[in-house]
Symmetry: D3
Subunit: 340 residues, 6 copies
Amino acid sequence: MAKIVTFGELMLRLSPPGYTRLFQTNLLEATFGGGEANVAVALANLGEDAAFVTKLPDNAVGQGAVSELRSFGVDVTKIVRGGSRMGVYYCEKGASQRSSTVLYDRAASAIAEAKKSDFDWDRILEGCKWFHITGITPALSEGMADISEDACKAAKAYGATVSCDLNFRKKLWSSQRAGQVMSRLMQYTDICVANEEDAEKVFGISAASTDIEGGKLDHEGYIEVARQLTERFGFKKVAITLRGSISASDNNWAAMLYGGGKAVFSKQYPVHIVDRVGGGDSFCSGLIYSLINGDDDRKAIEFATALSCLKHSIEGDFCRIGLQEVEGLLASGGSGRIQR
Amino acid sequence: MAKIVTFGELMLRLSPPGYTRLFQTNLLEATFGGGEANVAVALANLGEDAAFVTKLPDNAVGQGAVSELRSFGVDVTKIVRGGSRMGVYYCEKGASQRSSTVLYDRAASAIAEAKKSDFDWDRILEGCKWFHITGITPALSEGMADISEDACKAAKAYGATVSCDLNFRKKLWSSQRAGQVMSRLMQYTDICVANEEDAEKVFGISAASTDIEGGKLDHEGYIEVARQLTERFGFKKVAITLRGSISASDNNWAAMLYGGGKAVFSKQYPVHIVDRVGGGDSFCSGLIYSLINGDDDRKAIEFATALSCLKHSIEGDFCRIGLQEVEGLLASGGSGRIQR
Amino acid sequence: MAKIVTFGELMLRLSPPGYTRLFQTNLLEATFGGGEANVAVALANLGEDAAFVTKLPDNAVGQGAVSELRSFGVDVTKIVRGGSRMGVYYCEKGASQRSSTVLYDRAASAIAEAKKSDFDWDRILEGCKWFHITGITPALSEGMADISEDACKAAKAYGATVSCDLNFRKKLWSSQRAGQVMSRLMQYTDICVANEEDAEKVFGISAASTDIEGGKLDHEGYIEVARQLTERFGFKKVAITLRGSISASDNNWAAMLYGGGKAVFSKQYPVHIVDRVGGGDSFCSGLIYSLINGDDDRKAIEFATALSCLKHSIEGDFCRIGLQEVEGLLASGGSGRIQR
Amino acid sequence: MAKIVTFGELMLRLSPPGYTRLFQTNLLEATFGGGEANVAVALANLGEDAAFVTKLPDNAVGQGAVSELRSFGVDVTKIVRGGSRMGVYYCEKGASQRSSTVLYDRAASAIAEAKKSDFDWDRILEGCKWFHITGITPALSEGMADISEDACKAAKAYGATVSCDLNFRKKLWSSQRAGQVMSRLMQYTDICVANEEDAEKVFGISAASTDIEGGKLDHEGYIEVARQLTERFGFKKVAITLRGSISASDNNWAAMLYGGGKAVFSKQYPVHIVDRVGGGDSFCSGLIYSLINGDDDRKAIEFATALSCLKHSIEGDFCRIGLQEVEGLLASGGSGRIQR
Amino acid sequence: MAKIVTFGELMLRLSPPGYTRLFQTNLLEATFGGGEANVAVALANLGEDAAFVTKLPDNAVGQGAVSELRSFGVDVTKIVRGGSRMGVYYCEKGASQRSSTVLYDRAASAIAEAKKSDFDWDRILEGCKWFHITGITPALSEGMADISEDACKAAKAYGATVSCDLNFRKKLWSSQRAGQVMSRLMQYTDICVANEEDAEKVFGISAASTDIEGGKLDHEGYIEVARQLTERFGFKKVAITLRGSISASDNNWAAMLYGGGKAVFSKQYPVHIVDRVGGGDSFCSGLIYSLINGDDDRKAIEFATALSCLKHSIEGDFCRIGLQEVEGLLASGGSGRIQR
Amino acid sequence: MAKIVTFGELMLRLSPPGYTRLFQTNLLEATFGGGEANVAVALANLGEDAAFVTKLPDNAVGQGAVSELRSFGVDVTKIVRGGSRMGVYYCEKGASQRSSTVLYDRAASAIAEAKKSDFDWDRILEGCKWFHITGITPALSEGMADISEDACKAAKAYGATVSCDLNFRKKLWSSQRAGQVMSRLMQYTDICVANEEDAEKVFGISAASTDIEGGKLDHEGYIEVARQLTERFGFKKVAITLRGSISASDNNWAAMLYGGGKAVFSKQYPVHIVDRVGGGDSFCSGLIYSLINGDDDRKAIEFATALSCLKHSIEGDFCRIGLQEVEGLLASGGSGRIQR
């Protein structure tokens, strides 16, 4: 009976220490991560009641993932156990002009091979007020595309708000296939989240004249994208994250929330990056947190942007940030003075 | 044109540090290992010219494996690159009454999905004097069973000595299937290596009244097993390793070599275990090294047992032992006095 | 509504790595531990529904403890938050003739300064079938002596079985004070657990002629102690752990369970020690697990001894052993052969 | 007979590695630190004869602290041993918009519970030329307020120069109490050191219109503060450190020295932060070093600022910087070219 | 028969972890490095066939170096084994205003004490198309000055292109001695590489009015230096790296290539530094790679600068960068967006 | 004015972690060690006033060594600074049948190249009651042989007791040269310490029929050796350590003290080894401690053997054992029960 339910893939994340490359030393840092699980963890750390739904193998690796989620207080009782393996991703942290790299080892994962009958959405979504999914979940396999649609449909039927982060991954599917499948999910979606490129890659809706490399952001272009998305799918709100990538070490980070024909833009933060993976997921988490607690669009976009700004200073996928810290940043403006 | 060629699977090995359990800390020690690769590495460390043949994905994980083998001077030029992923195995080190555990994540590995056309045995085996394989290689898939037979047949045709370690793994195949496939390989095999249980599990040939738990060894029983194996398959020699398992921390280790109707037993070593994985592989390596260099059976079994005794003191799959160290142990008897 | 509830102190445990001494390197391994929490964790790892009750400060250190317990699936909803600090203990691992050392830093801990009103036993013990406490809990302060008695009394009133591990700590209180306070708790206790020395130190009941240093165990003496304890306090069962200390690296480990006038002794295990802290706690856990699931005394003492034998191979206070592993040891006798 | 004596608290500092949060991994980096000890260490590293006075428990943790100080050549012969525990502080390093956090665990520490009779100031201060204390020392307890006054008075009587860093900590005491106690110490103080906020928090003397968040510094305001402080307490010199906090990763760092009615401002350094804890302490150290060696105000403020600028690049509380490195920075201007 | 041969010193590199100082913790990171070996490794990582020639002791340290080189696929068959020891260098990473420091421990190294007869240049250089050396090699000893000249002469005789990085080290020799010896090598050199200071330090040819501390670069000055060098020694091309040192954490990085009377300047990269050691070596590697593959000057200088820009983000001496990554940077301009 | 002075070599010790081999991982544990320094440290840890004399380079490595010694409270004021480098030794820990190995890199060390004029023995030995040296010191170079004799002679002249551990190292000198040089030192020696082999290797005095590999000890043989040594050199006492090497993991450890025509043998301890380097040095330390404090031979040999038994459980060269721990072992007999 969790208030917020997220559904998707959880992977073992293996990273070489610091800025070393894979196998430069004999150690790998082993954590877990995945877009939808990241959202559940971030919400639990903010004090919300959140459940994560996936399928994990019934072995020590799957159990490690369950224990890790449980440590944050995420409700894991709806996780299905079975299948042969858990996806793995190898993540090298970039620096300066060297990009971070992510190498996926997802073949034959339990979640990609999950069956419709694995998930009893009536039982899972009982009492759910908010359901969150991303474009990665339906991209995992044809079966998962169908199951994702089932889930969204059921959530909608239960009266939950449905949010979806487009999260296009070109290694998982083509733009064409993504467009077809995601369009099916969009009919149940209330809040659509995208980064600067997703709308174009998935639906061919582009922000004219945006220069994502240069770190400059074109407000009008993003409003136009949000307007077109809203027209096509009837969303209540569209949120777009705006990452100005100066280098792998430094980014500018801001976001826009569009709804009811109006757009609000957040403050832009110059972030010195510790780990940028999960930045977008923490943005979704902040947005859900703020909206489910009744904030208006201005407050919601500032909260979501501040939370995700702070995530960039955290190692690993999971957003280990408490409510007080977000409020502190909103109040102080981010000078980073020591707290003692 | 390597003198010795081994063929099989190489996996990424992930182990939690020391005696911790999986995910008890956030670190995993990442190395590589696999029965046939272990043999190639051990032989290279003894100064032999050895090549390892497998199929590895053309990504950073596969490249890590290649670099690691290359660091030992193993010839990696015959490794085929392609396929989607590399097998992984998770290994927890046991202690006292707690057994070591090995969790395999082999689904969809490049080598299991390899095709006949991936390997040009004429090119690979040119100049080869000794070919080594284990029962794991044909167990990986039906295709690999056929490819393994091709390899043995080609090696035989080139005049190489063929050695095979039965290495039965119940998680890979049934005794029945193993018996069928391995019988096909045995027709090309000159030197058969087995542990106390393999002959029974694979061919139903048992060492009557052997108590493997109690650490007692029944010499007559093992001679009888070797005799039966030789009768059925016409081996030149049969070697059997004799592990007396007192606990996960302490084992007795010895071996027998049977050939020409006679058996010689090695000295038995009481080993205090650092890492027992690869113990049998280092035994095969020592046997190959000694026999290819013209030693008689007595010297060969003592050399092989001493090398593999020393392997138990080494972290990881790979046998990082030099020729001098084996000769030192054979000369000193193993008192372990400091060398300075 | 947890089935099993344990009550006591949880401390931050700081240990230098491996066999180094405190501050020999700049690293400390930070985990958590404490007799009663250890029991809750061990039971959760065996699949039982267990809650742990304590008082922890409402800061990042207390939260770290809660998260760690939560990762095992222990019910933490009854933990009271408040107070100024959490106890810390520094633990150096011994080896060979050098003993392990434990240095407590417990002054002014939240649990020692807890008040009666902090714990609402009606709410905490609702639905509880088994309540476990040790002699450390009432030893922490005068207030905790009273609160411990309240807890036992309430548990008894709810129909729960009450078990108590005497766990005498001479640094916390004198034998005289221990005898007075523990006698009050004993009136509610069904199952009393002790080591070779506790009965004498707390109640002056001694096992005549036992030589605990020499590793020899006097069966008759222990039966006599259990008989006297039972006579004085009317226990249903008395369990005594029998540690034969050969060195800091090697111990013999066995136990006795006495009930209904009869004693059963477990198999004795020669254990090569990874970490002996929490050995007695895992014994209690195994005993509770076996008895609450209806086993007879013979099965219960073998199960409890096997579980705690395995604990000695685990780093940290917590018993990270699954049901299958205990059953494996009971079936195999402990040869420690690799599981693959 | 040390030339320079500092008096105060030394704590065990526990920090999670890198930018991880507390208990994100199982490791803590254990060092020691505390304002006055930091000054003694920095001075010893510059080649001065410095003693540190405190009270530490007579156990392995206290001994670890003594050994650490001793490794730098700090005179530890005046440290009193006794009491129950040593204060601990947990320090998470911040990054970008996430602030560093410090969590104190000081209850019942040996130094806070020290008694007047613990310190024989005649013996301790024999031959002392400079005595340094900070506002943390008297804030630890009422007893320590009195003892601090004793110490300053005795130092003054011995003819030593007395320096005091106001170092206001709101978690230790209120502004009101700080003002009362510090005013007593100020009557013995020759050199007063403060950061941008201390003068206002302790004595209600404010730098009008200074925007400490924005990184802008108002020279006139700081001069005004120094003038008022000098008027009220008759200091020989007042030094104010000027930290412009851009983020937790980047600060601007400069300082002012006021004396004889004139102020000199140092060069401002843009610092990319490794560890900012102890920045102010290293400033005091540089100031003491320069003044005790007869430098004029201009040289002293540049030396102190350069030393403390370099401290920001050092892990831990202690300023591990040699004289040559400060002189190198003063000469080069800080381009950070490799030294080889 | 390697296509590219480099000749020089390889040292064991010992670095304290992260930004700690030497012996601040008990760990040292042990890798290997040296100007000419770095070039061979970088070229092997780009896919070229490269051999490294040196003399290393025939012990476990020398073998560790050989294995490390071998892991990259560098041809190590021409390394001479013998001598008493291998040079060591201790490297502390700087940050902000604190410079990186390098402490050499080269006395009595095998390479410095090498004899002419150790190297059979006919055998070594057979089939060589490009020979690379730096000013460190002849600086190691008088014998090495002669041997270096032999090598260059032989390479020239075999028709190889000879490149030389001036690489002046004031701790190894005086400007005067460097000028004499390097002039002898210059007569065989086709491509001369230098940093902003080398030409002046070695040959007294200066770039008038260049302010290397201020990060500003004077194009005309560098062209003038290249012109003078070309006039004096008849080089085909002169390359000059242009490092603008803002701090130990941030540099600007660019380069110039002069040939046929014309100069081309690369793009300038603002680099946030992970490890700057080996930056110049990776520049040489990129230049060799590009020129040996037929690129024009414009492409060559951009390739070399991009590769060496990326090297600054890599831990250790060795340039662990693949061809695709350089091409990615040249295409993208360095925004460092995550690759997934 | 230290009471006890030791003189010799201090080296940087580099060890791969745990049981890994050199360069198996990228980490080395960096500590310091050397026979005579080990004795000074052990004595300081027992509470004695001890100084260590050597020559160390005036760089960061030499300073690291000084700081480490200083942390134990060893008097370092008599260490001479200068010379080009510090000796290094690489130490791989053995296990089971694999011996520990030590690889020395001592060429051109400051101490080996020290000159007579470096040491002012009058100043150094003022107030000295006991002077200790080992056979390593004079073996370092011809100069050091002379300097060692100077030191012994001066100590004798000052009335100090002189102890010498023969400590024969075949990699440093031949038996013949050792015999010549050590005979010169023996004329000043009061207490001679040797292991089972030293007397034969240095002076050709053998313990007839001793089987050092088998772990059996021949009491009569050792008495005979001590008697012969005493006759030849006129020692007050001769101590011989008796190591029965079962394997690299397990040794038996005992010792004999012979004086006044009588021999006393210590208890024999079965030691499970953590690090055996420095075992003999800790024995010397215990012997010096006990004799300088007036114990009789029986107490002295038991104390020295107990201290050195405990050293085998300590990582690194240095004997980190306090007086209480030795007394605890002497009282308890070594059962290794936890101290809490």
